[in-house]
């Protein structure tokens, strides 16, 4: 029983499988023989390839894996992402948009910027939206500019950034790197059955092509089927469709009109009558898709919305329909098995939470890998508490985007605003925010996923008004706020002058590469 954990077996080879394998192998230096990391991948099951959007966390994940950013950008069709633009979410009119950028508001924490912004807006001293008035990144995105220069070293930035990537190519890229550089064993085989130990642990898996494979810790990256945690260990699935109504995606790949067409450096999310359309610019194509609630619209109607969005090119494109079950497992780690990726759960892609949850899971498993079986249940409990908290906070944050909409064109929106569909935790926060803006004191866990600033961007982007009548005495530092607004304006002028277009920088990276220093 009290034996060192040396053999990690990962079942499934998508983004989740390879990131997890790579993080564990790199952290424990598997290539030196400290532990064995084996990834079993079915030669027959295709990769789902969800989520082409990442968070800035991906930069540190790639660094920890020892990957060159230049190689990654070149081989995964990657482009830069500086946040999300939410269009038509509030009123549905064509001029209705706000940004959730990847940088904090200017001078965040120095003063109650949200309050001063709201006051200036009310007195018509300031026309700008909250994100435009407080964060220079909105201007960078609106002008299609890159977050850095060709002279900026790998992983460094002028403006904080994440990536858009081709998920299929990313898996292949990670696989090559993990096997060649990090000492991960790759076994191409189908898992056909699972052998249990007396204590209910997974002792080994039987494969059709590679015999029986034993392990101390099994990581379920088998996708929606949740082969180990869901099917074998019978951990129930907690459905969230009563909160998040999106249940279907229609996805297309849209070619650019010309080779030098601009590449948006942010995700564009445009609300529709019963859902929203994502638009992600990669180097060679755009990924566009409509996620919707089939309880509120038909597939025909949704297809028409997608067609209207894409335009004339649509008739030549193949539409892929993907069912979405919003929800997660009740626990993620049971016995000696932990699920990462779709096998743990999935939420609609509004805030690109899929890959970041994989990174966070992989990071915690790698860094807190139980030394031996005896202590594994404690790690498992911590992991479960941490990730249950994270999934719930993500659900709250996603729901926030819907409850402040003023749209009335479909019951989708009024049903979303129905308090019966809003988690209690979010309702409480909304009550507090009637009188003060989201602040760090509202998010005190070590395991927060979204910072207070993100809530501010969405809240005030969607026209929420906080009532400051009881806190006027705390808002005397108008000069400090004015200074921040002026600084933001100065930053905008400076970056707009110096940054190249997103397309221009990506082209240069393909030609010349980025330097490591």
């Amino acid at each position: 029983m009290n034996k060192k954990i040396t053999s990690i077996v990962i079942v499934g080879g998508g983004t989740a499988g390879w990131i997890t394998a790579g993080r564990i192998a790199a952290h424990h230096r598997a290539q030196d023989g400290n532990i064995n990391v084996t990834l079993i991948e079915s030669p027959n099951i295709p990769i789902i390839g969800v989520g082409e959007g990442t968070w800035p966390t991906m930069r540190s994940t790639l660094m920890k894996l020892g990957i060159s950013e230049t190689d990654f950008i070149r081989e995964c069709d990657a482009s830069f992402k500086q946040g999300a633009k939410f269009a038509r979410w509030v009123t549905g009119t064509s001029d209705d948009f706000y940004y959730h950028p990847l940088m904090l508001p200017q001078g965040f924490g120095k003063t109650n910027l949200a309050a001063h912004w709201q006051a200036a807006r009310t007195k018509e001293q300031l026309q700008k939206s909250f994100s435009a008035a407080t964060c220079f990144q909105e201007a960078v995105c609106e002008q299609g500019l890159a977050p850095k220069l060709i002279t900026t070293p790998e992983f460094n930035s002028v403006a904080n950034y994440a990536y858009h990537l081709n998920a299929g190519k990313f898996s292949t890229f990670l696989q090559k790197h993990c096997c060649a550089k990090l000492g991960v064993q790759h076994v191409l085989a189908d898992v056909v059955s699972i052998n249990s130990a007396d204590n209910g642990d997974i002792a080994s898996v039987n494969t059709a092509q590679a015999g029986t494979i034993e392990g101390d810790l099994f990581i379920d990256c088998s996708g929606f089927q949740s082969l180990l945690l869901g099917q074998h260990l019978q951990v129930p699935f907690i459905d969230c469709s009563d909160v998040l109504f999106i249940d279907t995606a229609l996805a297309v790949q849209v070619p650019y009109e010309s080779e030098d067409a601009p590449i948006a450096s942010h995700t564009i999310s445009t609300a529709q009558d019963a859902g929203w359309i994502w638009d992600i610019g990669l180097v060679h194509r755009r990924g566009v898709g409509h996620v919707y609630s089939s309880r509120h619209t038909s597939e025909e109607q949704a297809t028409e919305r997608l067609q209207n969005y894409v335009g004339a090119a649509f008739k030549n494109l193949t539409v892929r329909k993907i069912p979405i079950h919003c929800g997660h497992r009740q626990i993620f780690w049971k016995n000696n098995c932990v699920a990462v990726g779709l096998s743990a759960g999935f939420l609609e892609p509004l805030e690109a939470s899929a890959i970041v949850l994989v990174e966070l899971s992989a990071s915690m498993i790698a860094e807190q890998l139980p030394a031996c079986r005896e202590v594994m249940d404690i790690t498992a409990k911590r992991f479960n508490d941490t990730f249950r908290y994270r999934w719930e906070r993500i659900i709250d944050f996603l729901k926030l985007h819907y409850i402040l909409s003023k749209r009335t064109d479909n019951n989708f929106w009024s049903d979303n605003r129905d308090p019966a569909t809003i988690p209690h935790s979010l309702q409480e926060l909304m009550q507090l925010w009637r009188f003060h803006p989201p602040g760090d004191h509202d998010f005190t866990s070590n395991n927060e996923v979204f910072p207070a600033a993100s809530y501010q961007y969405v809240l005030y982007g969607m026209g929420f008004e906080t009532d400051y009548r009881y806190s006027q005495h705390l808002l005397q530092d108008i000069a400090v706020a004015q200074e921040q607004f002026a600084k933001n304006q100065k930053n905008i002028e400076q970056v707009v002058r110096s940054l190249p277009s997103n397309r221009e920088l990506l082209t240069k990276i393909h030609l010349h590469g980025l330097q490591t220093i």
């Binding site: 060709i150 002279t151 900026t152 240069k508 010349h512 330097q515 220093i517």
Partner: protein, 235 residues
């Protein structure tokens, strides 16, 4: 404006180069790209550092002439103050061009160094190259070979993590502060950690000498600050 065309012994037979004006073309350069083969001549005046091309982000070696854009502290009283002027200045108004994978000599026909009066002839009356052009060709050849050589040098240093950013915070005599960014130099700490095999390889490649020349040349930054202080005094 510039207009680069291939040098031709008929079209350009009448042209003369006013060599007095050549150095003035660098009057507003605060740095100039240099090649390894001229390091020993450069080190008498100039700090030799690395910087990144703003176009491609790739490293190149430069001689530092000033601390801000447009400032050449070696250009004073309409003269280049120094006994050695970098090749990339002295080759002007000639350039190396590429056509169908062939290198050829080009000339900037809009250069203000070109005259039809006083100056060095490029071709003689029969269309034959003058000694002057021979000399220019030797400079261009040194540059062409030197650029490849210098790129190899940089590649080797990068692979060994021997290049590091240089923090240059300068206070001039009039208390003016200046931070110079975007310059890189040899990482001496890392250099001291190289093992015998790595050092031997650098020696064999002929890179040890330019490495130490670059380190030694950093002392010229003080001379450059001195020049700046003199200029501020006279202003």
């Amino acid at each position: 404006m510039s207009n680069f065309v291939a040098l031709h012994n008929q079209y350009h037979q009448q042209l003369r180069v006013d060599t007095q004006l050549i150095e003035s073309l660098g009057a507003t350069n605060n740095m100039v790209p240099v090649v390894i083969s001229e390091f020993l001549r450069l080190v008498v005046h100039y700090p030799i550092v690395f910087t990144k091309s703003s176009e491609t982000g790739t490293f190149l070696c430069v001689a530092l002439l000033g601390f801000e854009s447009g400032e050449n502290l070696f250009w004073n009283n309409n003269q280049w103050q120094g006994i050695y002027t970098p090749l990339n200045i002295m080759r002007q108004p000639f350039f190396i061009g590429q056509e169908n994978n062939q290198t050829l000599i080009c000339i900037d026909t809009d250069s203000r160094t070109l005259t039809t009066g006083q100056g060095e002839a490029i071709f003689d009356s029969t269309g034959k190259e003058t000694d002057y052009l021979q000399k220019i060709k030797a400079r261009l050849a040194e540059l062409l070979e030197g650029e490849n050589h210098t790129q190899e040098f940089i590649k080797t240093l990068l692979a060994l993590n021997l290049i590091m950013p240089m923090a240059l915070d300068i206070s001039f005599a009039n208390a003016q502060q200046q931070r110079v960014q975007g310059l890189y130099t040899i990482n001496e700490e890392r250099l001291a950690q190289l093992d015998a095999t790595q050092l031997f390889t650098l020696q064999e490649q002929g890179y040890l000498q330019p490495i130490y020349t670059m380190i030694a040349s950093l002392g010229q930054i003080y001379a450059l600050i001195q020049k700046k202080n003199e200029r501020l005094d006279n202003a």
